[in-house]
Homo-oligomer: 255 residues x 2
Amino acid sequence: MELAHVTTVLEGLEETIISKLIDRAQFRVNQVVYEAGQSGFEGEPHRSLFGIRLSHHEQMDALFGRFCVPEERPFTQPLPPPRRTVHLPPSGLAITDFEPVNVTEAIRKAYLELLPKICRPGDDGQYGSSVEHDVYALQALSRRIHYGALYVAECKFREHPDEYGALAAMGDRPALVRKLTRKDVEERIVERVGAKVASLQTGVNTAVRIRIEPEVVTQFYRDAVIPLTKESEVRYMLHRQRPAPAPHASPREHA
Amino acid sequence: MELAHVTTVLEGLEETIISKLIDRAQFRVNQVVYEAGQSGFEGEPHRSLFGIRLSHHEQMDALFGRFCVPEERPFTQPLPPPRRTVHLPPSGLAITDFEPVNVTEAIRKAYLELLPKICRPGDDGQYGSSVEHDVYALQALSRRIHYGALYVAECKFREHPDEYGALAAMGDRPALVRKLTRKDVEERIVERVGAKVASLQTGVNTAVRIRIEPEVVTQFYRDAVIPLTKESEVRYMLHRQRPAPAPHASPREHA
């Protein structure tokens, strides 16, 4: 539980997010897959193909214990309990119920607004592939945003437990946002992400592969990934258990 | 159904395969996930976590109609019928049962042999993520190999129907392999793949992200991807329906 380690993990997740977005961009928008009742599934008059896929995928993932991991927050409910015994190291986090920090509804909304900016318009009939890649992209985003939220917030709390504790006790959201914000760090992340989008597509033969614009992804980081991470950080602060962790949970021992 | 289009699609799948391998390489080998009876799943004394994940994923994909697509050949059986009506354009292929061209057993074996060459040794406890990425990599490989096999073989057959027809009728596998082989094309593919592995990792911060060696992937293309594509091409030729397609199925109309 050191901020340097946490930011390293976050940085390593950027390539994953970008490559999932590039994979999705190989298919057209295929708007029909997001329309309720148009899934082509028997007995599914209300959900979209996208909604059904996301739900089926998370049902499967739940059996494998994915959502036992703090940063793996699901988009759908209800989910079955794991069929597997999952052994996790102590998280070092001071909450046990992670659902209050879950911002997947906002992630889903932001992602669906991003789609027409990375995918060509129209319909290529590749519905199954489109929603499959939607799920992978959403899961990569959820992991990054919630990992950032949980662990960055806990690190920052440990640096200034009294100040964060006081703001959280007052429920002062604007002050928490201000205190959690590091404009210089955000700018560095956005610039790095833009450089990676370009770099990951350097050798691409545009006759066979669709490229996505770095600016679209950097704007998405500015408008969605970073603000939602902060929103989830604020929620973590508001739901963090008191009192401060006992000596055995000190940062040093969890490093 | 033109060879130029088919090779374009194949080229576009290379980035997907490479990025899936890079994703998997972020985790250690985690050998235990491939060991029977070590899955941690209740009521699963015989299968490995990898086997269970692959099976669950394909069960889900089958419901969505994935395996109605000719090049999407499954690794596991039995699978449920699709719950979705899948509308596919005419494939232009001259077989209706695609399972005789299915080389997934060999793909799985080759992939598992590749793993220790791309992943660091040891165990990081990331079992769920490891097998999740195994499935994505295997599916990308299966798609590429079977797409290549089916469509390249059909294109080549249409160029020389009498010669391929005669060799297939005699069941002359070695002659079919020789006739299907284009050493210069294979060499170009391997070189291009190596360049992409390097290019996709150009901007990578090796402090936060594991790199894979281009040579390992080019060797995998040489030893597995290309030979298995040809094996599946041979099978296509041997199972292709006679007589040659009627005029309405000419290459021009399917282009």
